[in-house]
Every structure is written in C-alpha cells, then in structure tokens.
C-alpha cells in the first residue's frame, strides 16, 4: 500500500509551527532548546524527526503534544492556537487528540497491561476496547501481565496500544525504539507503521537513529535547536530493509 504525496498547498495541515523558540532552566544551567523552528505537519503523514541528543527534538515534540509551551513563536493545531492555550485547554487537547509513546514506556507499574490501556480509555469519548488495542499490537495473550512481567519490547507495545486506544488524531513517539534491540525495535516500528497506514493517524516519530528515517513520508533533521535539513522520501521503506 502506497500513497502519493499530494502537492503541499492542497494538503490538509494538522500542525503549523512558526518561529518556535524554547528556553528553559535545567538545574543551574539555561538551555536554549529550540531556535526559531517553522514546520507544517500534514494529515496522515509519518514525519521522522532526526537529531542527536540535546538537539531539541523532544522539546519540539512536547510542544506539539501540548506538554510544553514555546517561549516565543506560535504553534497551531488545526484551529487551535496551542501557544496561547492555558493549562485547561492543553489538558483537553491532549485528552481528545494526542497519543504519546515514550522512550522508556512509562507504564504505571501497579497496573496490568490492560489496565494501563484502560487508564486512557477511561477518559476518552470514543475509545477502542483495551483488548482490541492490545490485539492491534499483538499482545492479546499478555493483557493481565504487570509491566515488571513484560519484556522491553512488550512494554513498548503496551505503551503504543495505550496511545492508540483512544483513536487519537496524532501519535507522538519519542525515541520509541531507543531502549530496544534491532529485532524488538522492528516489532515496535511495525506497529507504529501499521497504525499510521491503517488508521491514518498523523504520526511524528523522534529518533537519533538515521536508519529509521527511511520509514517516514518526510524527514527533518534538528541540530542545536534548528532545522538543518528537510527531505521527502519518494517511497517509504519497508521495516525489513531497516538495520542498525
């Protein structure tokens, strides 16, 4: 299954970021995480954001996800101005529209796989059943396991199930394979790829691993908080072609 990249003007823009800068205090150090980043994200596309550690890619993702606000600049999600939103608006935005996948899974250790998914479906308006989401990631036989009883790959797949169970408009993945080996990583990427293709969820995936770039419709590279390059793949590579 393959889609043609439509001409940009006619494509449905989900996110529109303009001159986004971010500075924050980390302990006693001031970090300039983003410097004037401008970028659009289109409906249904899989965007890969490449960058080394400290390049500002997580900060950018957090701003898109409504976890953080830019210091200057604007970010719009469809009709909503995220950069001007207050805490309640952002909460509602995340609740209704965003699914997160984190590098370290961040499952709640005291809840089983199914319950970790239910944690999110409890507060969504039109979720999948927890088991349906776990089936999607191939973990139907692990529903009653606690995180401590699951491997890293399994935990990450639960995290993906948790993220997609609410049928989000956008899926934001922060180094989803960063803590995994090649085989397990592939398994996880296959799930993300599947969700993107089959459900059509707009997906942004952060990685420091250049090999993964071939999976995306589009690839941008961040370094020192700035976009250093942007590239559109003619064709998305299949998971099997990827190695690291």
């Amino acid at each position: 299954m393959q889609r043609q990249a439509a001409p940009e003007a006619s494509r449905d823009i989900v996110f529109r970021a303009r001159d986004v800068s971010k500075m924050y205090q980390m302990g006693e150090v001031e970090v300039h995480a983003l410097r004037s980043v401008s970028l659009d994200l289109y409906a249904g596309e899989l965007l890969v954001i490449l960058g080394a550690s400290g390049s500002g890619k997580s900060t950018f993702l957090n701003i898109l996800g409504g976890l953080d606000l830019p210091t200057t600049g604007s970010v719009r999600y469809r009709d909503r101005d995220l950069s001007q939103a207050d805490e309640d608006d952002l909460t509602l935005y995340r609740r209704e529209n965003v699914g997160f996948v984190f590098q370290f899974y961040n499952l709640i250790p005291s809840l089983t796989a199914a319950e970790n998914v239910a944690l999110v479906t409890d507060i969504s308006s039109d979720p999948m059943a927890a088991n349906e989401a776990l089936e999607l990631v191939g973990l139907l036989d692990r529903v009653d396991h606690f995180p401590a009883q699951l491997s890293g790959g399994e935990q990450q797949r639960v995290a993906i199930a948790r993220a997609v169970a609410k049928r989000p408009d956008v899926l934001l993945c922060d180094e989803p394979t960063g803590a995994l080996d090649l085989e397990t990583g592939r398994l996880v990427l296959r799930v993300i790829d599947k969700v993107n293709r089959e459900i059509g969820t707009t997906t942004a995936l952060i990685t420091h691993n250049a090999a993964i770039a071939a999976l995306g419709d589009r690839v941008i590279r961040l370094s020192s908080g700035e976009i250093s390059s942007e590239h559109t793949n003619e064709e998305r590579a299949s998971i099997e072609e990827i190695r690291w």
Binding site: L67, E87, F100, F104, L111, A118, L119, D122
Partner: protein, 787 residues
C-alpha cells in the same frame, strides 16, 4: 472501579507500612477526642440529669441554730425559689474491723415525705419508716467500703451518747458525689460516710428540735445568686450564719467540675498534637510518593488527565490513611470512653452514668482529622499538580549539595566521610529535618507532660504528708474544749506529744471582695504541723496578724502589710481589722494561719481548742485508737499516714491507666515519625546505598549512613521535646489550677530520662524495621532503576 482507583488501591497496599503508621496517629487522635471529650460530654450530661432529678440546691448555708419558723422568712427573700432546712452534724462511728474511728456526716431527712431539695437516690434497701427513730440510710460508697448491707447495725456517738442504728438502705446524693471528710482533699470511703437520719430523731439528739443548722435553696429563674446570698447572710447573721455559698464552693460539685474541665482541656489539646503530627507525616509521605511518581504524573497528564483528577488521586492516599485511622479511632474511642466512664462511675456516684456520644462529635473528630490530613497532603499534591508534564518527564536535576553550617564552621574535618554524608543529608533538606525533629519532640513532650502530672502529685503529697503534717493522728473535737484537754490527752497511754489547735470560722473582707474561710490557730513552737511553701521550705508563723495562702491573697487582692476586715462567725461575732503579716506561697487550699494567742485575742471568749495533733508511740497505737473511739468529745481521728496510703492506692490505679496511654501515644508518634523518615530516606537513597554496597560497604556501614540521619534528627528532637514538654507543663499547671490546689511545676529528672529513653527505644524499633528492608536491598535491581 476505574483504572485510576485501581492504581490507588494497589499503591495503598504497597505503601501500607507508612500509611498504617499515619493511620495509627490519626486513630490515636480521634480516640483521644472520643474518649476524653466524649467522657466529658457524658459526665456533663449525667451530671445535669442527676442534678435536675435530685433537685440539687444552688445555695447552701450553715449556721449555729435557727428556729424552723425562720424558713418562711427565707422563702420570702426575693429570688428564692425552694427552701429546705435540715440538721447536720459530724459524729464518730464505730466500724468493726476499722481500727480508727470513722466519721459520719449525719444529715436529717424528713420522716414523712421526701426532702424538697437534695433528693436521695436509693441504691439498696428502703427509705426510713415513720416513727422508727433508729433507722438510717448510709452513703453507698461507705457501705461498699465497709461491706454494710441493709439490716446491719452501726454504732455512733451522737452528741456524746452511744447509739445503735439500723441501716435500712444505701443511697447516693449529688451533694456527696465526691464525699470528702472535713479537712481532707479526697474521699476516704472506708472512714468517712454520709448518714441520713430522720429529722425527728436527729434534731432532738442535738437539741435541734424545731430548729435547723443548715439551709439549702434554689434560686428563682432570672434571679441573681449573689443577691440571694447577700440577703441570706444578712438574715442568718443573728443565728450564727457561717456564710452562704453557691455551687462553685460546694466541695463535691467543685471537684466534679474540676474533673470535667480537665477532661475538656485534655480532650482538645492532646488530639490537636496528634492531628498536627498526622498532617506533618502525610505531608512527608505524600511528598515523597509524589517525588517518586514524577514520571507517572507526567504520563497521566500527557494523556489528558486533569489537575483535579491527578490531585484527587493523590489525596486518595491521605483519605485512605484518615479513613482507616477514623474507623479504628472511633471504635477504640467509644470502647475506651465506655471504660473511662465506668471508671469515673466508681469515683462519682451518678444514678445513671453511661457513655453517650453525639454523632456530631464523631463527625467533628473525623472531619478535623480529614482536614488536618488534607492540609498536610495539600502541599505535596499541589506540587504534583503544578509540575509541568514536560518537566516531569525529564529526570530530576541532581540534588545540589554544599557544605552546611557545621562544615563551614570548620568542624567538618572532625567527622569521618560517613559522618559528613549524614550531616549533609540533614542539612540538605532542612525543613524536613526540622519537621522530623519537631515530630520526635512532640512524642517526648507528651511523655514529659504525662509523667509531670505524677511528679507534681508526688511532690505535693510528699510535702503535705512528710513535711507539713508530721502528726501521727489529728483529732477534731465535737465542740471547743478548754485548755485541760491537752493535759487529758497527754495522759492517754501511747500519746507522746499533744499540740492543740483552734479553727475559727470567719468572713474575710477586702474592699468589695469577701470570702468565708476559717483561721487555723497554731501555738508558737508547734512541731507537728508546719507551714510549708511550694518550694519545700517552712514559713515561720508571725506572732501577730494573718498569714495567708498566696492563692487566697490573690483572690482578695491583698499583699503583705495590707489589712483585712475579719468577721468572726462564732461567739460574740465581732469584727476587727487584722493586718496581713505574711503570704505563704503554697499550692493547696486557701489557708489562713494565725498565732494561737493572737487568734484567741481576736475571737475573744474563753481560750478553747477545736482539735489536737498527736505524736503516738507506735506499739500502743491500736489500743489508743480503741480508746479514742470511746471518747465522746472526739469527733474524728485522722491519720496522715493512712490518708497518704489510701491516696497512693488511688493514684496507683490511675498511674497504670495513665502510663499505658502516655506510653502508647508517644510511642505511636515517635515510631511514625522516625519510621517514615527512614523509609523515605531509603526510597530516596536506595540507589546511592546500593552503589556503596557494590563498592564493598558492609550492610552495617550502609545502615549507619541511612539511619544516622534519623539518629541526628531524633537526638535533636529529644532536648527540643524536653523544652516543649516543660512549656506545656507550665501551661497545664496554670490551666489545671483550681481554687483548692494547683499542680506544682516540678518536672523531675526521672521524667526527662524516661521520656528520652522511651523515645530512643521507639527510634531503635523503627530503625530495626527499616534495617530489615535495607538488608534485603536488591543491588542489581536498584542499580538498574532509571533516574
């Protein structure tokens, strides 16, 4: 149950140890409220019910003798509602098996019908029958102490004549809920009882036919008691009135009220300390919980959980601790309240005394606990809510350490590396360290304050019975006797020294302030009775003028060198101005002393004595007691040694209960504070400690590092608690001061040592529990935990 609740339940189970210790503190707080405050309310309710049902009088006055016809005139006084007159005398009782003569307060009751005021409540037997002049009803406690039952006989020396009386019933009366023999401080049920006898029998026996020597009345609604008292005093003055007084000066009521006030104070102050500690602990534990759940909070927020939902989730921990504590506290509080009220039942005879507790009190107790816990949790929860999710996702920046004050003073090099680590940890979280020390200090303070009460009473009793009252026996006479009595008593076998004294009832006036009182006249050179100051020294008796107890001087607002108008309430009833020659700082009663010669001069009339103190040759004591029982002139014989023994017996009962409470209470607080502190330190520093273990530190060395911090805060908390305890003792000593006594502000070294020891023990126990966890530390797993 939604998923978040499921998370809550699982994590409550995980943190059960810590939450349990908080729940214990909450439980104790609620328990004290329900026990002490509940006891107070139950007693108050029972008292009011009893007073109403028994028609408890509002004003009393004793007098020498007045014709019954005077009653009409009393009834016509404005503001007077109901009047009852009666005849009342003290007389020796010969109780078999009791060596010393017992004293009976004989009180007349109408032969037909019932008293208009001060109704008896019969416990056993029946009321006296008309025409049966030898029938009596005795007070229930006296009956129990001497195993009297209706049908038994009692020998009494009534106005010098021995009479055999038949006990037909036992009863209680609100006037004698607390039956204190004259001159004593607490009941002595074996040797003092109330004997109710037909007025037609008692009156003639004391030459009081158609007359009375005691009047009781109630005040009409809206009338002023003081106004009634003034009129009554004026009316009774020609009849030898000894001064009317209201309920606040009625011995039994006064003591009962004192006990109730004490319950009310304690029922408020002690729970407050517990709730404060619970709030602090919740703050500590939840704060730590939230710190360890930093990323989980971020995840919840990332997926769109609102601040309110996250806040409620973490408040759930506080709620769980409070709910568990409340259930246990309410159950235990009601149970303990019941036994407490039963215990009081032995002390105060109320016809109905049951533990009754309003649900409003239960709700208030639980509500206040919840509020305190909520307050404690709020700070921590607010931190959880305020944490921006993006920041929460990032690891916490490494804790910043710097050399603390101790090291800046250049003392750091005196400590080994482990000592410096402990110290820096204490100094890094100063607020928490201060809180922990304050928590420990609370535990110590509760111990100090609890034990201090015993110190005070101990000291007071020691002073009273070993320094002030040095006589072997104290006699009071039925009527004043002449000088020859000293000679007569000296010749009794076994008596080695006789020192007579005289008590003269007076009314003291200073400006608009006045008080009925009695002057104790002591001969110069008296050795068996000394005037003792609160400090333990003796105060010399001035040859002229009055020596006043400091509390009385304060009430009358006079000082040394001022003068008082003294109205003698006997004989010629003359009034004279007498100088205040000295003030004695004592702590019991409202005594007025005077040199015996000066008193004789003041009272005019013949030199007479109302009693005597005896020094007795121990081997002849039993024979002497028997002889004294037979002497018609002797109204009562008291032995300070016996009084002390019976007091100590009473104290021992209270001591056990008191100690149990105090040790339990402070133990709960100390363990909760120290255990939680150590558990939190362990969860925070598990990684660091595991690293040290991997580097080759022994379990012991690592335990020293972890528990050292708790040891430092505990050791700081102990002296702090001693100081706090002393301050509380000052407050309690002032708060519990009544007209008749105050608790001397003495805190013994023993008390301080006991408080420190108990707290240290609690610390060792807590440390031991945490150390077991420390020994099970999984080195690999801890090292793998992501920061």
């Amino acid at each position: 149950m939604n998923t978040l609740s499921r998370k809550l339940v699982r994590e409550i189970l995980e943190y059960r140890g810590q939450l349990f210790s908080i729940a214990a503190v909450v439980a104790v707080g609620i328990m004290t409220v329900l026990t002490m405050r509940g006891t107070y309310e139950s007693l108050l309710l029972s008292m009011e019910e009893y007073y109403r049902d028994a028609r408890f009088p509002q004003v009393w006055s004793q007098l020498e003798r007045a014709p019954e016809s005077l009653r009409r005139r009393i009834e016509r006084l404005s503001g007077v509602a109901v009047v009852e007159t009666r005849v009342s005398f003290a007389a020796s009782l010969d109780v078999e098996g009791v060596e010393q003569p017992a004293l009976g307060q004989f009180v007349s009751i109408p032969e037909r019908g019932r008293p208009r005021l001060s109704e008896l409540h019969l416990e056993t037997g029946r009321y006296v029958a008309p025409g049966r002049r030898d029938e009596v009803i005795i007070s229930q406690n006296f009956a129990i102490a001497n195993a009297f039952v209706p049908g038994d006989t009692l020998r009494a020396i009534i106005n010098g004549r021995e009479r055999e009386l038949e006990i037909v019933g036992t009863a209680i009366s609100p006037e004698y809920s607390y039956a204190v023999p004259p001159g004593a401080l607490y009941p002595d049920d074996e040797r003092f009882g109330i004997v109710w006898m037909s007025r037609d029998a008692l009156g003639p026996a004391y030459d009081m036919d158609g007359a009375f020597n005691e009047v009781l009345l109630t005040v009409a609604p809206g009338a002023l008691e003081d106004h009634v008292i003034k009129q009554l005093d004026r009316l009774l003055d020609p009849y030898g009135g000894l001064g009317a007084y209201g309920r606040e000066d009625q011995v039994s009521h006064q003591i009962l009220q004192g006990e109730l006030d004490q319950n009310r104070t304690m029922g408020t102050a002690i729970p407050a300390v517990f709730l404060l500690v619970a709030a602090f602990l919740l703050h500590l534990v939840l704060g730590r919980l939230i710190a360890t759940q930093r990323t989980e909070i971020a995840v919840l927020k990332a997926f769109g959980y609102t601040d309110a939902e996250v806040g409620r989730h973490y408040l759930g921990f506080a709620l769980a601790a409070v709910a568990a504590g409340s259930i246990v506290g309410i159950g235990a509080g009601i149970g303990l309240g019941r036994s407490m009220v039963r215990l009081y039942g032995d002390y105060f005879d109320f016809p109905t005394l049951r533990y009754e507790i309003g649900w409003d009190l239960v709700l208030i107790a639980a509500g206040v606990s919840l509020a305190a816990a909520g307050l404690g949790a709020l700070g921590a929860v607010r931190r959880a809510i305020r944490l921006p999710p993006a920041e929460a996702m990032r690891p916490e920046p490494p804790a910043s350490f710097k050399p603390g004050a101790f090291e800046r003073l250049g003392l750091g090099s005196l400590l080994p590396a482990s000592g410096r680590m402990i110290l820096r940890n204490v100094e890094r979280t100063p607020l928490r360290s201060v809180f922990s020390s304050v928590g420990v200090a609370f535990a110590v303070a509760i111990l100090v304050i609890g034990l201090f009460m015993f110190d005070g009473v101990d000291y007071m009793m020691d002073l009273q019975f070993r320094v002030a009252q040095r006589e072997d026996l104290a006699l009071t006479f039925n009527h004043p006797l002449s000088r020859s009595v000293e000679h007569d008593l000296t010749h009794l076998k076994g008596v080695t020294r006789v020192e007579p004294y005289r008590i003269v009832p007076v009314r003291l006036r200073a400006g608009h302030r006045e008080r009925e009182n009695a002057i104790l006249g002591i001969e110069a050179g008296t050795r068996l009775r000394r005037i003792v100051t609160a400090g333990g020294g003796t105060h010399p008796l001035p040859p002229e003028g009055l020596l006043l107890s400091a509390m009385l001087a304060e009430q009358l607002s006079v000082g040394r060198g001022d003068s008082l108008q003294v109205e003698v309430l006997e004989g010629e009833r003359r009034t004279a101005r007498v100088a205040v020659a000295g003030i004695v700082e004592d702590f019991m009663g409202l005594a007025v002393y005077m040199d015996l010669d000066a008193l004789h001069a003041l009272a005019r009339g013949e030199r007479s004595y109302t009693g005597a103190w005896l020094r007795v040759d121990e081997p002849s004591r039993a024979a002497l007691n028997r002889r004294l029982k037979e002497l018609p002139a002797v109204a009562s014989v008291a032995s300070p040694a016996q009084m002390l023994a019976s007091f100590e017996e009473r104290l021992a009962e209270g001591l056990f209960i008191g100690l149990f409470f105090i040790l339990g209470f402070s133990g709960v607080i100390a363990i909760a504070v120290i255990y939680n502190g150590a558990r939190i330190a362990l969860s925070e520093r598990g990684r660091e400690l595991a690293s040290l273990r991997v580097l080759g530190f022994t379990r012991r060395e690592v335990a020293v590092l972890l528990l050292g911090e708790q040891a430092v805060t505990t050791l700081i908390g102990i002296p702090l608690g001693m100081a706090l305890g002393y301050l509380l003792a000052v407050a309690v000593s002032a708060g519990l001061q009544t007209e008749t006594y105050r608790i001397p502000l003495i805190v013994s070294t023993r008390t301080y040592l006991a408080a420190a020891t108990v707290t240290l023990l609690a610390g060792v126990v807590s440390g031991g529990i945490v150390r077991r966890r420390l020994n099970r530390l999984d080195l690999i797993a801890v090292l793998k935990t992501r920061e």
